[in-house]
């Protein structure tokens, strides 16, 4: 609608969703608590662990490095996809780019096979 910002409707939608969410949170978390039951007790305020007292203080301990590996692999393939996107839209008109794309993808395929062989894609171990 506006040549200055064709994506303006999306911004308005984001703003609308944020306003609604903030209104709901404020109503339920700040305004209504003056009316509704509010009865904090020691046991209720403990972190929930299947009904038994927490075994270890806090929860922010070290978690498995496997999550890091997954995120790292994801980024690499995400970057690959980001580079393939412009290729995909012009491929119909420029079919000769097939081999250029294939060599790009083949290099990453080597990496994929390496990661597979090294067991980086296995969750166990």
């Amino acid at each position: 609608m506006n040549p200055a910002a064709p994506f303006l409707p999306v911004l308005i939608l984001i703003a609308l969703a944020s306003v609604v969410a903030v209104a709901i949170l404020a109503l339920s978390g700040w305004l209504l608590p003056k009316l509704k039951p509010n009865n904090p007790q020691d046991a209720k305020l403990l972190p929930f662990e299947c009904g038994v007292p927490p075994v270890q203080e806090g929860a922010r301990h070290r978690y498995s490095v496997k999550f890091y590996l997954v995120a790292m692999l994801f980024i690499l393939f995400d970057v690959e996809a980001a580079f393939l996107l412009p290729w995909a839209v012009t491929y119909k008109a420029h079919a000769w780019t097939f081999w250029a794309m294939l060599s790009f993808m083949a290099t990453l395929l080597v990496g994929f096979i390496y990661a597979w062989g090294k067991g980086a894609l296995d969750w166990e171990r």
């Binding site: 308005i12 997954v70 995909a88 969750w123």
Partner: protein, 358 residues
């Protein structure tokens, strides 16, 4: 359109934009609560139970218990809104917002019906007009944002179950996004663009004489990958490792209650709707009626209803699958994502690229 615009004292373009924004938002907010009811009734049907059917307006209007959704909403508002003292207060408040906002953008670029002419200008039934340069990449980017609501909710709760659930859910979403984007690229490649209007146009007519010209038939393996990945992205069973009752109780939203929980729940159903809209547009012909090649004479409202029917049918498939399949084990999930779906979508892409080469 002009009359509406003059009533509002704005230009037709602005009035139409307001209509579209309200439609995109209202569709999700309007369908999500009945969907929670459909989920409970559907699960009851599948498990041979009755499910919620008692709630009634003024003691009379029952509509098969649909009013239950309304009652749930009221109940959520009047539940104790607890912020646990061990939580990180600010982020604990922020997380429902981070979960809710991306989920509401599901319909942002999806064309919900045929474009039409009125008073010499063309109006499009999608929030962004064609040729905006973002196209179908926008829902993909927004889908990637859904991770943050989960991660922030998990971390701020400072609860072991929450953090475990959040880590597992986000690692899963991230893993399945890879196969998803390669499947989508194959569609863009065949269409020659990523504008949703073009993609819908490219799916009109018939394929092989007997099938609708939908990408679901032209790229069945791409569809398979996309469909499965959408379940993972929406954190639905069989991939609901965010929750996993038997292991981590409720996962990342374990410490949440009241409307904060309801926002996270609404976000989940928003993602289901968004995923259904995406599948509809990419693989099931969008607002197109099967076998019809030229939609010029068909009323706009019919195309809109066709789109809505497809979306809601897919939502019901989401529910059906949830109550039919058991949950995966986490290593099986990672295996499926990285060792099966990713190679399949790569092969799918390379096959169609090879067929199109010069």
């Amino acid at each position: 359109m002009e009359t509406l615009a003059s009533l509002l004292h704005t230009s037709p373009a602005t009035a139409w934009m307001a209509v579209k924004v309200l439609m995109a938002f209202g569709l999700i907010m309007g369908i999500a609560p009945p969907l929670t009811w459909a989920e409970r009734r559907g699960s009851a049907m599948i498990q041979d139970r009755i499910g919620p059917n008692r709630a009634a307006l003024f003691g009379k209007i029952r509509i098969l218990g649909l009013v239950q959704a309304l009652a749930d909403g009221v109940k959520f508002f009047f539940k104790e809104d607890l912020v646990p003292p061990h939580a990180n207060k600010r982020l604990f408040w922020l997380a429902p917002l981070l979960a809710f906002v991306p989920a509401m953008l599901g319909f942002a670029v999806i064309p919900m019906g045929r474009s039409f002419l009125s008073g010499g200008t063309e109006y499009h039934l999608s929030l962004l007009d064609p040729g905006n340069g973002m196209g179908m990449l926008f829902p993909m980017a927004v889908g990637a944002m859904a991770v943050y609501g989960i991660l922030v909710a998990a971390w701020s709760s400072n609860n072991k179950w929450a953090i475990l659930g959040g880590m597992r859910a986000s690692a899963q979403m991230v893993s399945y996004e890879v196969g998803l984007s390669l499947a989508v690229i194959a569609i863009f490649m065949v269409t020659g663009g990523y504008d949703p209007h073009e993609i819908v146009k490219a799916q009109q007519g018939t394929f092989l004489g007997v099938l609708p010209n939908w990408y679901v038939f032209r790229q069945p393996f791409g569809f398979l990958v996309f469909f499965v990945c959408m379940f993972a992205e929406a954190n639905r069973l069989p991939f609901d490792f965010a929750e996993g009752e038997s292991e981590i109780v409720a996962g990342f939203h374990i410490e949440y209650g009241s409307m904060k929980f309801a926002l996270i729940g609404l976000a989940e159903y928003g993602h289901i709707l968004g995923a259904s809209a995406l599948i509809t547009t990419m693989y099931l012909g969008g607002w197109g009626i099967p076998f019809v090649a030229d939609h010029g004479q068909i009323p706009v409202i019919v195309t809109f209803l066709v789109f809505l029917t497809k979306v809601i049918a897919l939502c019901l498939v989401f529910i059906w699958v949830r109550w039919t399949l058991p949950r995966f084990r986490y290593d099986q999930l990672m295996n499926l994502g990285w060792k099966k779906l990713l190679p399949i979508s790569m092969a799918n892409l390379l096959y169609f690229a090879y067929r199109m080469r010069g």
